[in-house]
């Protein structure tokens, strides 16, 4: 139990925990102390001073975000002196840069503006020299307008503390101070990885998302708490929509990813240019023609009935939700008795433990990464590893290729030196092992020696790999030996080689969201939903079941994949 500290805030008795700041103690009982530079996700630095409070027996006002509580402390959060000081600080903040609201993207959602309203600023107290600062638009997805920046340094702190990328800092001094990348290069040419965490945490309109700018204020949009489907980390996310259109995606602060997403998770959704499949299609007279669901399902059932079950093959991507995956197994294996499998590897070859968490990673003293490149394929895991390393953990990399993580490794071993890597971990107190598909199984066996000591995190190549593995599905793609083949692709696409193999089957059914080379050659095509049109769940690589929520309404005429499979089963 933490030690209790008795304090008074605005005359109210509060039992705070030792080590808490005045801000945290106040927040805990619902007393709102305003903040600008402070954000719960990062270390408080007391830069903006807007949270100043009156503390008995303290000389001058003190910032609540950094001041620790002590026994018997008496705090006033909205006394006349405090309010006067906050108005003065706001006056200073408005005296630099351009904080003119009418043409600012953030007007209505701006934390600086909200404070000016709260403290009734009806004009700017100090003259603003109006000197223009530069605008940096060199990054693909978001723009930095230095004129709107109040130098709260939230962006710098998320960049170093959460994304562990250390790109951002400040240059110059005094009134000339500006946020900069790598000491002063254009953002687009810097080491910035465009994870967009700074964009999400910026309290003003200094960082602007190109896609969703001016498209809707907070009061006009809907937020759906969901899960990112771009890899098996399954980052908690919020999908922000307006009138059925996705505006942007933000990371969920309370989830294991701590608000961080990667370039893909945050922006990839908006780069989609493929054409959506809107109705079932059947090849007639060597042309794909639109047909009704009834006709399409009847045709599919007929084709399966004509083939012996041994000659029917069904493969699905692991980038699909639990219900669809279970229904896929129930229908094709249970009802039809077909050959079933998945299109991506599922770590099925390894008999290693699962269940390690991202939190384990942060508290690890040694991190062993084998057969995977988290920074490329599971970026948020990569950031977590870098965070742990910044806090003193040692990274042991077991890899034969040019791995992105190599630069951060304390020791690097080749895949056939696994024994040495394991030995290194045995000498540490809290190791974490991350293993991916490139680990040779005989080397992976050596990791078993760490079973009692280490947490194991499997790096599945696709988002719902955990569930696919649990269902016993394997990457046994062999369509050429089949007469009838069903492929559930969702929004993934297949390599030319795999398309060629698939087309060797007499009858090819494809269930996909987008038109692609394989839908051109299929005999029958079913339209699939996108993951954010579904209500469902998946298992992330921690093995935790997480809810994937429907953020936009179902497009007209579309049926969820699991229901399509159920209807198919009814016809068999």
């Amino acid at each position: 139990m933490d030690k209790v500290v008795n304090i008074r805030i605005n005359g109210r008795h509060i039992r705070a925990r030792a080590g808490q700041t005045v801000m945290e103690a106040a927040k805990g009982v619902g007393i709102d102390i305003p903040s600008l530079c402070h954000h719960p996700a990062v270390t408080p630095i007391g830069a903006c001073r807007i949270c100043v409070v009156e503390i008995e027996r303290q000389r001058g006002l003190q910032p609540a975000c950094t001041f620790p509580v002590t026994e018997g402390m008496r705090v006033e959060t909205e006394s006349p002196k405090v309010v006067e000081e906050r108005r003065f600080i706001l006056g200073l903040l408005f005296s630099e840069g351009n904080h003119y609201c009418p043409f600012c993207e953030s007007s209505g959602d701006c934390e600086l503006q909200a404070l000016a309203y709260r403290y009734g600023l009806d004009h700017w107290i100090y003259q603003n020299p109006g000197e223009a600062r530069p605008v940096d638009g060199t990054r693909e997805h978001f723009i930095m307008d230095h004129n709107r920046c109040i130098l709260c340094r939230r962006c710098i702190r998320v960049c170093s503390e959460l994304a562990a990328n250390n790109t951002l800092g400040v240059k110059y001094r005094g009134a000339k101070t500006v946020i900069c990348a790598d000491g002063g290069v254009p953002f687009g040419e810097s080491t910035c990885i465009s994870c967009g965490t700074c964009l999400q945490i910026c309290p003003t309109g200094a960082l602007i998302d190109r896609k969703s700018a001016y498209a809707g204020r907070e009061s006009q949009v809907e937020r759906t708490k969901s899960v990112c489907m771009f890899c098996s980390v399954g980052c908690g996310s919020e999908i922000i929509t307006r009138a059925g259109r996705v505006l942007r995606v933000e990371g969920e602060w309370e989830e294991h990813n701590n608000g961080v997403l990667c370039l893909k998770g945050r922006f990839e959704l908006f780069k989609e240019t493929r054409k959506r499949i809107e109705t079932p299609l059947i090849r007639k007279d060597s042309r794909m023609q639109q047909v009704s669901w009834e006709e399409a399902l009847d045709t599919l059932a007929q084709a399966f009935k004509k083939s012996p079950s041994k000659k029917i093959g069904a493969w699905t991507t692991c980038r699909t939700l639990n219900l669809t995956l279970s229904e896929f197994v129930a229908v094709f294996l249970g009802k039809i008795g077909a050959n079933v499998g998945v299109l991506e590897l599922t770590l099925a070859r390894f008999k290693l433990p699962l269940g390690g968490s991202l939190n384990d990673l942060l508290s690890a003293d040694t991190i062993l990464v084998t057969g995977a490149d988290p920074l490329s394929d599971h970026p948020v895991i990569g950031y977590h590893i870098k965070r742990a390393c910044m806090n003193g953990a040692r990274l042991v990399l077991v890899s034969d290729n040019n791995n992105e993580m190599r630069r951060f490794a304390h020791k690097t071993f080749s895949l056939n030196e696994m024994g040495k890597a394991v030995k290194f971990c045995q000498n540490s107190a809290s190791p974490v092992v991350l293993y991916g598909e490139e680990t040779p199984p005989e080397q992976a066996e050596k990791l078993a020696a760490l079973q009692r000591k280490a947490h194991f995190i499997p790096l599945f190549p696709e988002s719902n790999g955990f569930h696919a593995k649990a269902l016993g599905l394997r990457a046994n793609f062999a369509p050429s030996q089949m007469e009838a083949v069903y492929l559930l692709l969702e929004d993934t696409s297949l390599s030319d080689e795999k398309i060629k193999q698939a087309r060797e089957a007499k009858f090819l059914a494809v269930h996909a969201s987008y038109h692609s080379p394989i839908t051109e050659v299929a005999d029958i095509v079913f339209p699939a939903l996108l993951w954010y049109e579904h209500e469902g769940s998946l298992y992330n690589l921690e093995g935790k079941k997480v809810a994937v929520r429907k953020a936009v309404s179902l497009p007209e005429g579309l049926i969820p994949e699991n229901e399509v499979l159920t209807q198919l089963a009814a016809r068999m």
């Binding site: 003119y100 609201c101 009418p102 043409f103 600012c104 007007s107 209505g108 503006q113 000016a116 309203y117 009734g120 009806d122 004009h123 700017w124 003259q127 603003n128 109006g130 000197e131 223009a132």
Partner: protein, 185 residues
């Protein structure tokens, strides 16, 4: 407007500086409330009536909108200040500087050339240089050239906000803006 009652009416003068007229449109948005107000106030002069200048004998309330943008604005602001007891700075341009402030970020000569010569629709443009014309100056909010008593920001301030401010002044109070009345956009 009965003769004997008009004696008791509060006199209000209004004018604009570098403004888009939006603030005065918002004033007209008072609709029937404007008619009710006219029982209590007399608008002596405004940019949208025949009489443009505040009367020499003075008014109780002066309302100015727009940015101080040229030498003529300096004069308008000075005269209004001299002839009114309470000066209201109305709208974002007047209170904060507004859009015209963006001109400060380029050199004056560049701004003039762009406006009078380089605009795509201009043929054989010429920068007006007559000494009879007002000269452009560094753009600034009203309170940087004269003392302002009441601020009402907004682009434009809503009719409700204007109604609130005039109402408070008629009650003899200096308005304190909050909630829906205090908006910067």
């Amino acid at each position: 407007m009965g003769g004997e009652r008009s004696m008791a009416k509060i006199k209000i003068a209004t004018d604009w500086l570098a403004a888009c007229a939006g603030c005065h449109m918002s004033l007209l948005d008072l609709d029937e409330r404007l008619v009710q107000l006219l029982d209590k106030i007399e608008i002596t002069s405004s940019p949208i009536t025949d009489l443009k200048y505040p009367p020499r004998e003075g008014v109780t309330v002066g309302i100015l909108t727009g940015t101080v943008n040229n030498t003529a604005h300096l004069e308008v602001a000075r005269v209004m200040r001299e002839r009114c007891q309470i000066l209201v700075s109305l709208g974002d341009c007047s209170v904060l500087g507004g859009v015209p402030l963006m001109r400060n970020q380029v050199k004056m000569e560049d701004a003039l050339r762009r406006a009078y010569v380089e605009t795509e629709s201009t043929v054989d443009g010429l920068i007006p240089r007559s000494e009879e014309l007002a000269q452009p100056i560094f753009a600034r909010p009203l309170d940087q050239v004269v003392k302002v008593d009441v601020y009402l920001p907004g682009c434009p301030p809503s009719a409700d906000a204007i109604h609130f401010v005039i109402g408070e002044l008629l009650e003899g109070r200096i308005p304190v803006l909050k909630d829906q009345v205090l908006k910067y956009d």
